[in-house]
Amino acid sequence: MSRLVRAIALITVIAVVAACSGPSPSGGGATGSPGAAAKPQYGGSIVFALEDDPIDFDPLRSRAFIDRNVHYQIYDSLVRIDETGKIIPWLAEKWDIPADGKTVTFTLRTDVKYHDGSAFDAASVKWNIDRYRTAQGSARSGELAPVESVEVVDSKTVKFNLKTPFSPLLSLLVDRAGMMVSQKAAEAGGQDFTRKAFKAGTGPFMLTEAVKDDHITLEKNPAYWGKDKNGNGLPFLDKITIKPIRSSDVRFTNLRTGDAQVANNIAGKDIPTIKGESGLNYQEKPAYSFRSLIPNRAKGFVFEEAKYVKAVSTAIDRKELLEKGYFNLGVAGYSTIAPNHFAFDASFKPFEKADPEAAKKLVSDVGKGPLTFTLLVSSGDPVILQIAQLIQAQLKKADITANIQQLEFAQILDQQSKKTFKDLSFVGWSGRVDPDGNTYDHIYSGRPFNDSSYSNKQVDSLLDQARQTPDEAKRRDLYRQAEKIYVQDDPARIWLGYGAAQLATSKKVVAPPVYPDQIVRFQFMSMAK
């Protein structure tokens, strides 16, 4: 009897949990929201306090992370990721990659129109990809360099011919390189299109107003094709006003006073407060972004000696940095491959515990006396300065002297790119969907973000193989082999950890889940009932 009661109770619990459970990704790209009822409320306007003012609305020119916060609302890409980072169909319903990996054929949705009424079809995809590949000053041409040509097979089928097999292609088409823009709108906009990309996408919202440094207005696309898992048409909100507010204190205050309902990039120090506020919700998960120290490993610089890089990596206490420097925002880590990447190895913890004695030994093995160097940090950011001071104190325990120098970000960037910086610099990376995007350009010999002048033939070969192998399991092994070398044996950098994707919202809205790319999916947001 009691077994029967337990069974009934169990079934009831499962049924209740299932009814209230979070979203499950659907092919149409629609997910619900955690705790949302089956029929969310339609209508309403919200204000989104964003950390900076977006620069380029045209994905072709866009180079800043901040721009993507608008792009994801007004444009759709060929494919997207779900909240776990898995690539899912979007404007392309399915795709086919043959065994040789030299082509990718997409089958497109047929129920999609641009905001300006023009048709979305295979010809439009070809126009967009060719534009990204060949237009003067395109920020996408490097990403799409492996694409040889794009062929229109029929109105709903488009084929990408690749120069060589290139496994990360789909992950690039998730973002700006795969975003579809109306040819009519782009051509009419001309030089001003990137500032006035009005009604130019197929996305859930339309850009209708953009006043620089003041606000951006996005209005509901009433003809949007997306539906949530219950079949409800998306989006739910009528209007989003984006306000660029650079100070995290002021952003947070706007959320607390009700002047904004959504805010991003909340400072670590404010997280305990936000969690304690009855009118606010806070969600967080590890992002693709990483935090690292870049040593100048070029000839004639201190860190030309690999043992010094390893000594610094060994002496740093990442757990303490996370707790005291980042207020537990994000996670400690050691590599480019983030927790949401398929190749992430949770057991790879080469410098889990700081070991000042081992660091001292590495320095003495070099035989050139104590290690002293300059640690460059961007001026005007007190949080980064505090973290640098914490690192300085940790290194002191291993008799390593780090002299902190503050420089303007533009200067650091200039010196890094010319490989003239002394000696260790502190610059973050916003992260990419595929491990390749977090690794190749930073580690591979001579690539644009390889600011440490790192060069290791074996690592280069492993990274090349990982690009060309379509098999995910094989790619996972290759990345893991490579990271062992560029993190541990012959370190390219000193990784400190991974950033966090955050979403702070007022309880007046039903928030969507957080995505590891840190972009809010407003189409799933609705006003609370």
């Binding site: 620069i55 002021v250 607390r256 960037l413």
Partner: protein, 318 residues
């Protein structure tokens, strides 16, 4: 007078020319590559070269200057490297917000300074005078960004009386505009209020100690008439100089306040542009700012003549 004004206006051209050379050289001597900053996380070398070419940054500096100047004299200050917005459009789009904030702050500052400064001088060492001196010290010592944050915390967060920042154009909603204006205007007014109040007080004290004031008092004039009709006007000359300079500095004066309250003015534009090494915008803002400064000093000089008839702008006086 007319001739004097014309001559002063003509003099602005060589000054502006010098300003352009200095600014053009200085922004380019500042370390940092605008294209690299703009490139952010997309650093394809071929594209970077294309961008440098597109903005003429691959040309020798003198050629870049000549090209910029040729366009500038025709009213074209170029396009922003970061946003591609025409620089003149970027400046004039933001100018109303900056002017509104700057003028509101000046109005608060000058009105209070005149009233309290005069009273402090007349009632020297009274509690009011001591209070005003204390306020002056605090006003000068408190940085704008700190005062701004304190005001936001008190009036926006704790009391929920006013919005914590933002801007509504005057033409859209007057009341909403004023609500958003109060905190930034007070923040911006505080530092100049302290200076102006001190200036009014000391200038008034000086005038009050003059012999003609003693004579007027001896003639039996009422104290109010004495202060308002005889002392006040004479005490205004140094005040006009300082306020005139403050009017000229409106564009650059609000830089920090605009950042704190995300007030979409020229100050915010210039901060972003300097950090991003956006040469055309920095050059444009400095040029406009230099002209506004020169114009305001001209107006101040003309006002001297109105306040003090002994000052004349004859052919030998200019």
């Amino acid at each position: 007078m007319g001739q004097y004004i014309l001559r002063r206006l003509a003099l602005m051209i060589p000054v502006a020319f010098l300003v352009t050379i200095i600014v053009f050289t200085l922004v380019r001597l500042t370390p940092g590559d605008p294209v690299l900053v703009y490139a952010g996380e997309e650093r394809d070398p071929e594209t970077l070269e294309q961008l440098r070419h597109e903005y003429g940054l691959d040309q020798p500096m003198p050629l870049q200057y000549v090209s910029w100047l040729t366009h500038a004299v025709q009213g074209d200050l170029g396009r922003s490297i970061r946003t591609r917005q025409p620089v003149t459009e970027a400046i004039f789009e933001r100018l109303p917000a900056t002017m509104e904030l700057g003028l509101a702050a000046l109005l608060i500052s000058v009105t209070i300074a005149l009233v309290v400064g005069t009273l402090s001088a007349v009632k020297r060492n009274s509690p009011l005078d001591l209070l005003a001196t204390g306020f002056t010290l605090a006003g000068v010592s408190l940085p704008n960004f700190f005062l701004g944050l304190i005001l936001i915390l008190v009036f926006a967060l704790a009391l929920r009386l006013l919005p914590p920042g933002g801007y509504t154009p005057l033409k859209d909603d007057v009341l909403d505009n004023l609500e958003h204006l109060i905190l930034p205007a007070i923040t911006l007014a505080t530092a100049s209020l302290a200076v102006n109040m001190r200036q009014v007080r000391s200038s008034m004290l000086e005038v009050l100690s003059q012999e003609y004031m003693r004579t007027a008092r001896a003639k039996g004039l009422r104290e109010r008439t004495l202060i308002l009709r005889h002392a006040f006007k004479n005490a205004l000359i140094p005040v006009v100089t300082i306020v005139g300079l403050q009017v000229g500095a409106i564009i650059e004066g609000a830089v920090i306040t605009e950042q704190v309250y995300f007030w979409p003015g020229v100050g915010k534009l210039v901060v972003d542009s300097i950090a991003g090494r956006d040469y055309p915008v920095v050059q444009g803002v400095v040029l406009v700012s230099a002209f506004s400064f020169m114009l305001s000093t001209l107006i101040v000089d003309v006002l001297y003549g109105v306040l003090d008839p002994r000052i004349s702008y004859g052919s030998r006086g200019g």
